[in-house]
Amino acid sequence: AQTVTQSQPEMSVQEAETVTLSCTYDTSENNYYLFWYKQPPSRQMILVIRQEAYKQQNATENRFSVNFQKAAKSFSLKISDSQLGDTAMYFCAFTFTGTASKLTFGTGTRLQVTL
């Protein structure tokens, strides 16, 4: 079975600073996708960024970027120039390619951005 591990239950960062959230996963498959989702206090799950395992280049979306290390099965999220609106739970998730595409989630990291 696939597992996703987020070892940082809570983190705090000051506004405008940079923070990195960690995620490791375990799979024997070679083709898969990794995601970071954000869940603000409203509890809506919002996609932050996606990485295809077959791509060596790290994905970026504005202030958000990932460090994907396939051999190490590591997928960290870097948030640059942190903003108060980044305060949320962040979940790392994994899915295989295929018809069902079921997501397996980590337990989340609660990020607090402070003034």
Binding site: S42, Q44, A100, T107, G108
Partner: protein, 112 residues
């Protein structure tokens, strides 16, 4: 553009009562549909998914069931709620070959 609707937003039900949560998707056809549950302070657990009308796959055997009576409608049900059914329920959809799932706003269920 595609949108996903989920209702009700909040529900308080007594133990032993029935449950029906609805999820509909607009602006797409033949989506994969998913029901997840999130316990307090925890990650999401996949409950059911559907790749087509009438096709339901269960991930966790429990007190709940799901149905897909129409292409873009997904229903989560229970005949008799348990205290342990309390939680936050999220519906999601995935279009075609994309592996991205988009989530509804969720339903907070409290069983008392």
């Amino acid at each position: 553009s595609q949108t996903i609707h989920q209702w009700p937003a909040t529900l308080v039900q007594p133990v032993g009562s029935p449950l029906s949560l609805e999820c509909t998707v607009e602006g797409t056809s033949n989506p994969n549909l998913y029901w997840y549950r999130q316990a307090a302070g925890r990650g999401l657990q996949l409950l059911f998914y559907s790749v087509g009308i009438g096709q339901i796959s269960s991930e966790v055997p429990q007190n709940l069931s799901a149905s897909r009576p129409q292409d873009r409608q997904f229903i989560l049900s229970s005949k008799k709620l348990l205290l342990s059914d309390s939680g936050f329920y999220l519906c999601a959809w995935r279009q075609g070959l994309s592996n991205i799932q988009y989530f509804g706003a969720g339903t907070r269920l409290s069983v008392l």
